[in-house]
Structures are given as C-alpha cells and as structure tokens.
C-alpha cells in the first residue's frame, strides 16, 4: 500500500476528531485573565479590557445590602484577601454578612501571591463592584463578549429571587452595547433570570455550568461521576440545559466529549469550555465546535 492511501486509511478510520470544526470560539478572559492579574480584581478587568480580549468572564456575589461585587466565592477569598492592614483572614467571611461599606473599609484582595496563578501580578486593592465594572465597560466602549457568572450557594448567598433582579436591573440600566450572557451552576438561579427577563420582555442568554463542584468537595470525584453519567447516557447535555431553560452549557475541558458537543450544537445549544490554560490545550480545543474557550491566559490562545 502506498503512503498516501495508508495515511488516508488511518485518518479515515480514526477520522472525525482530527477534523477542525471550522468555527472560531470566543476566547474569554477567565476572572479577568487570572493568569496575569489578581482574579476578579479591578486591575484584571481594566487589563483585560485594555488588552482587547474577545470575551471577559467574571463572578458576582451579593453583599449584605444586596450590592453585587466581583468574587468567585460566597466569601472573601481566604488566600488572596486580607484585612486592610495585611493581616490574614481568620476563616471564611461571608460577603452576605458584610455591607459594601464594610467590605471596602475592612479588606483588600490580590495583595497576596495566588498559588493557583503564580505568574499573576500581586496588587492589593478593594473589591470591585459590578457597577464599577459596568462603568468601565461603558467608558471603554470595549468590543467584547461579557460573561457574567453569578454565584449561588444555599445558605451562603441570598436566594435566586434576590440575586437575579439585582444583577439584571443593573445590566439593563447600564444599557451597554456588548453581547452578554449569564452563567450559573444552579438551574434555579438561571430559571429566575429567565423568568425576569421574559416578564420584562428583554432578551437574555444563559448557560448552565456543569457539573456542580461543591466548594469543599473532590473535583476528581465530581468529574468522574459526570464522566460516568454522560457515558451511560444517564445525563444528557440537552436535558440538563433544558431543565435550566438555558441556551448553553459550560463544561470543564477535562470531561468534554466531542461527539456530545457536536450533538449539542446540532440541537442549537451553545457550548463553552473552561478553564483551558495551556497553549496546546487552547490550540487543540480551538478546532472543536465550541462557542467559547475560557482561560486564565487569553494571550496563549491561537
């Protein structure tokens, strides 16, 4: 057999996954490009906007007086945040137990090296509010996709009925031109966003983050369980999204299955992948039929 037919046979037999999808996934700066700047910080948001990244992803949590601030956890980040004088935090301090004034007066974040992102700049600053970020986006007239990841944790944050209107009203009031979508790992929260938007006659795009990783659980066990359920067809991406009335689903790259992604896309579902930080990973998944690649290092994307 000649070389060309042999190569064609190998590619033919092992084919589909080698072919590019011909799409260009939006590269989103995860937590404002946490690989370069302190995650969810003012510096990160400004840096990402100035860098001209295609997408900006950040997390929102409500304070005791229902002000959305940028934070991945329902509490002040135990490693990255300190008291104003630099003293380490004594355990978890829930944001819902602090007013915005107390948060700004008492704490700074980003002034401690981030062990998860050792190359990130170290900058101590107060927590950024959603209002501030909206103002920055308006002023910069940034041409990017805004990805708002809203956090809900039973017992640690307000209920979805409190969170959704606060975030939505601020977004609507800002009247920004950028395309945007809301993600959450809690179907009930996305349903509440959908309900409010429908009531107001406003368009909304939502995405379900799957699977749910409990804050103190084992990521490996959760990933293995999700892999098993998907393999057996016990959980179906479209069903999961349907249950949350979501337009899309955001999945960690480790358990992405290209055939499932292709099926989901055929059914009109958007699929985002998180959090791809290696150049090789970003290059490989760029060829998949994905809508977004979420990364701490947008500069590494092809």
């Amino acid at each position: 057999m000649g070389r060309a037919p042999a190569v064609a046979l190998v590619v033919g037999l092992a084919g589909c996954g080698f072919l590019g999808a011909g799409l260009h996934p939006v590269v989103e700066a995860h937590r404002g490009a946490a690989g370069y700047w302190p995650q969810n910080s003012r510096t990160a948001m400004r840096g990402s906007i100035a860098a001209g990244y295609e997408g900006l992803e950040f997390d929102l949590v409500l304070t005791a007086d229902d002000v959305p601030v940028l934070s991945h956890d329902a509490w002040l980040h135990e490693t990255l945040c300190t008291l104003q004088d630099g003293t380490a935090l004594d355990g978890r301090i829930l944001l819902r137990d602090l007013t915005l004034e107390a948060v700004l007066a008492g704490y700074t974040c980003g002034g401690v090296p981030d062990p998860e992102n050792p190359d990130a700049e170290v900058v101590a600053e107060t927590v950024m509010t959603f209002d501030e970020l909206l103002a920055e986006l308006a002023e910069a007239e940034a041409d990017l996709v805004v990805h708002i990841d809203v956090k809900y944790l039973e017992g640690a944050t307000p209920e979805p009925e409190v969170i959704a209107p606060v975030v939505l009203q601020r977004w609507w009031d800002a009247d920004l031109p950028q395309p945007w979508y809301v993600s959450a790992d809690h179907a009930g929260l996305l349903l509440e966003f959908r309900r409010l938007a429908d009531e107001a006659g406003e368009p909304i795009v939502t995405s379900l983050i799957w699977p749910y990783f409990p804050p103190d659980g084992s990521d490996t066990l959760v990933a293995l369980e999700a892999e098993a359920l998907a393999m057996l067809g016990v959980e179906d991406l479209e069903d999961l999204a349907d249950d949350a009335e979501a337009d899309g689903i955001a999945i960690p790259w480790q358990i992405l299955d290209r055939r499932q992604v292709e099926l989901a896309r055929r059914r009109g579902l958007e699929v985002q992948a998180w959090t791809l930080n290696d150049e090789d990973l970003l290059t490989a998944f760029s060829a998949w039929p994905l809508d977004a690649l979420i990364t701490d290092y947008p500069g590494r994307a092809p």
Partner: protein, 153 residues
C-alpha cells in the same frame, strides 16, 4: 433491554445460554467514539483518553448459536453475528446492534480477519444520539470503526 432480550430469544435455543469467552477487544468497534473522537486529543488530554479507553474495552462472549457473540464494555453492550467469508484467509463478515445500558442506539457492520488469538476488523457504525434520558433516534452519525482484539483461537 426489551429489544436485546428479544434478539437473544430469537437467536438462542430454548435452553439457558452458555456463554463462552471469545475475546477482549482492546479497541472496540462499538461505541466507536474512542478512536474517532478521543484519540485525536491524546496529546493534550491523556488522562481522559485513558479513562475512555477503559470504558470501551469490550469482552465478547460466544453464544450457543454459531457466529453470535455478546459484547460487553462499560460504555456499551452489543449483540453481533458474523459468518466466515473465506476460512482459508481467516476472513469473516458480520453485523451487530449496539446498546448503552441495554438501550438500543446503533448498529455496525464489519469485515474481520482472524489469525490465532488475534482479531482485527474494519467496518462502519451508525450511532444515534438516543439515551435513556432522551429517547431520540432521529440524529445519526456514520463513523468508521476499527476493532483489535485478542482471545480464543
């Protein structure tokens, strides 16, 4: 489950079926997704590719009806029937149905070559998107298949 049970009843004799080990397919023709979708990512996602390789390793059992085998892996269960095309050359042709958790979701056909304990097969599979949570047999993918196994002579 009903479909597979029905096929077994039609294919097998009235007495309880005696399963005889036939082979282990290290690369399995069903569900045919590992080679097509996972192997290309081996360079960047080796752990997942390894896990999914384990999922697709299939043990096949001969059923009392000549040429009929039952294949079981974590990812799929299949009923496969094949007959010799050329005994001298060790060539056979066959076709089978594939299930996931015993839910019928695809079919495949192949030409296989057997020498000693080694079996290699190339073929084509038609795989639907049906799952127990979404009984949808409207979307199908046609994929090339490759089987590599070792077992009884």
């Amino acid at each position: 489950m009903i479909a597979l049970a029905g096929l077994l009843l039609l294919a097998g004799p009235a007495r309880p079926a005696a399963l005889i080990f036939d082979r282990v397919d290290l690369i399995s023709e069903d569900p045919a997704s590992w080679l097509n979708y996972d192997v290309p990512m081996a360079g960047v996602n080796a752990t997942t590719v390894a896990v999914r390789w384990i999922e697709q390793v299939k043990v096949s059992w001969r059923l009392p009806t000549p040429g009929l085998t039952l294949g079981t892996s974590l990812a799929s269960q299949s009923l496969f029937w094949e007959r010799p095309v050329s005994v001298a050359a060790g060539l056979s042709a066959g076709a089978g149905v594939q299930t996931t958790l015993l839910l019928p979701r695809g079919a495949f056909a192949d030409v296989s070559w057997r020498r000693g304990r080694f079996r290699a097969a190339v073929g084509v599979g038609a795989v639907s998107s049906a799952t127990w949570t979404d009984l949808d047999w409207t979307a199908w993918d046609l994929v090339p298949t490759l089987g590599l196994g070792v077992g009884r002579r």
